[in-house]
């Protein structure tokens, strides 16, 4: 076993400090050390997108980082969006458009497209499909995910407008 290293990280606004083996994958750290099991594991080789989180605001595969690499960084996971009683607009859009079935890929999908949704008020279907290409879904044929993302873009944009 190699020397343990300290990992200090802010996840969804909460600071954590844990000591782990350097080889621990970031997704295992988030899930099993921090107990935030909303981020899922699908392939552990960076292709399926299920483990996508935001690292310093950008979507990355948490299965392709070692926990110590997150040291000093900020992470956002699905648990950092809305709650069951108060869904984030993107979560609401997924429910409204039936953009999930088994729901296993969903947290990764949502974290992948969250920046896209925030930056695109009215994306075309083609743009949305491109934005979704880094995430595999086996249940939906993507049809309703595409619609959910389009709806989410509208909802986020209109909330922004309201806030102004």
């Amino acid at each position: 076993m190699s020397e343990l290293v300290k990992v200090q990280v802010t996840v969804n606004g909460t600071r954590y400090e844990h000591t782990v083996e350097p080889r621990m994958l970031l997704v295992d750290f988030i899930r099993h050390e921090l107990g935030l099991t909303g981020t899922h594991v699908g392939c552990e080789h960076g292709v399926c997108g299920t483990c996508t989180i935001l690292l310093d605001g950008k979507p990355v595969r948490s299965c392709l980082l070692f926990a110590p690499q997150a040291n000093g960084h900020e992470i956002r996971t699905i648990e950092g969006l809305g709650t069951m009683d108060n869904l984030h607009p993107i979560q609401e859009a997924f429910r409204e458009a039936h953009g999930l079935q088994c729901g296993f890929c969903t947290p990764g999908v949502i974290m992948s497209v969250l920046p896209f949704v925030e930056q695109n008020a009215n994306p075309t279907e083609e743009e949305v499909r491109e934005a979704l290409d880094g995430n595999l879904c086996r249940c939906t044929g993507y049809q309703n995910i595409v619609q959910a993302v389009q709806l989410a873009s509208e909802m986020v944009a209109s909330r922004k407008a309201e806030a102004r």
Partner: protein
């Protein structure tokens, strides 16, 4: 699919990194973006005894203009930062054209420009693109700095001219001459999948629209990124016509390369793709060169 144990080094400076590298040499693996290395480690295909993580060295991430009109890209610059850089887009649109084919945005947010070059995957996009752009690579070790031109850099699959104690610190891409057009085309089975063949073409025309210089680099066709020298030579001094383009594509598919097969692509299909994609890239690069009267 959990990686085997390793010793972990995360230096904060290049000098510190070079010290560690010179001490460990063959037994330490450099971790840049990790988007190719970590999957291998998760599969336990790669079990390096130690990792040298460069991600804590901010000095290696930058995009700078070169005095000649080119650019210099720090080895740890994230692919997505290159992809969205206006200067790169203006000076080397071919890089921008190739970028979206590198896996997926989530991977490009983490993967690095230098990491892809040093990894030297014969199917990698960036080795071939920088080869077409006649880049040179700035390499540093405790013993000093050296620059290796792209024609001498790629020695075999995943094998470069770098020694185990050396680090790639930046990539220098020279300015394109006037009347130069570039193009990138590839065939993959789906977005983000391995390219079956990819072609980067850089074509410079003389004032009479004849080919003054051409560099055509191919990926996924051999042991390294391959510069299609005979194809380029066949165009020298000629107008780009359907006939000369076809002849060049033929040379690329039959003289410059002897492609092998894999489960996605038989050698015959690969040859076919080389013909089609070289032709398409030359045509587009030529059009773009003509559009730039400079």
């Amino acid at each position: 699919m959990k990686p085997a144990p390793f010793d972990y080094y995360a230096p904060a400076s290049v000098d510190e990194a070079l010290d560690i590298l010179s001490e460990k040499g063959y037994d330490i693996k450099v971790l840049a973006g990790g988007q190719s290395l970590v999957p291998s480690m998760n599969f336990r295909l790669a079990q390096p005894p130690a990792l040298l993580d460069l991600n804590n060295i901010p000095d290696l991430a930058y995009i700078k203009p070169a005095p000649d009109g080119g650019v210099v890209i720090g080895a740890m610059t994230r692919d997505s930062d290159v992809e969205h850089n206006p200067m790169v887009a203006e000076r080397f649109p071919v890089i921008l054209q190739a970028m979206p084919f590198i896996a997926h945005p989530q991977i490009r947010n983490r993967g690095t420009f230098g990491g892809a070059i040093a990894h030297a995957d014969p199917a990698g996009h960036l080795p071939a693109v920088t080869l077409a752009l006649n880049a040179r690579y700035h390499i540093r070790s405790k013993n000093g700095d050296r620059w290796v031109g792209c024609d001498e850099f790629f020695l075999g699959p995943f094998t470069t001219a770098m020694e185990p104690d050396e680090l790639l610190v930046e990539v220098e891409i020279p300015a394109l001459p006037a009347r130069t057009g570039t193009s990138y085309h590839q065939m993959a089975r789906q977005a983000g999948a391995q390219a079956l063949v990819g072609v980067a073409a850089v074509v410079t025309l003389d004032p009479g629209e004849r080919v003054a210089a051409a560099r055509i680099a191919l990926l996924s066709v051999g042991e390294t990124p391959v510069l299609a020298g005979r194809a380029a030579a066949s165009l020298a001094g000629k107008l780009l016509t359907p006939e000369t383009i076809e002849a060049a594509a033929e040379a690329a598919a039959t003289v410059d390369t002897d492609p092998g097969g894999d489960i996605h692509c038989s050698p015959e299909y690969r040859r076919h793709l080389i013909r089609v994609l070289v032709a398409k890239s030359l045509e587009e690069a030529g059009e773009r060169a003509r559009g730039k009267r400079g």
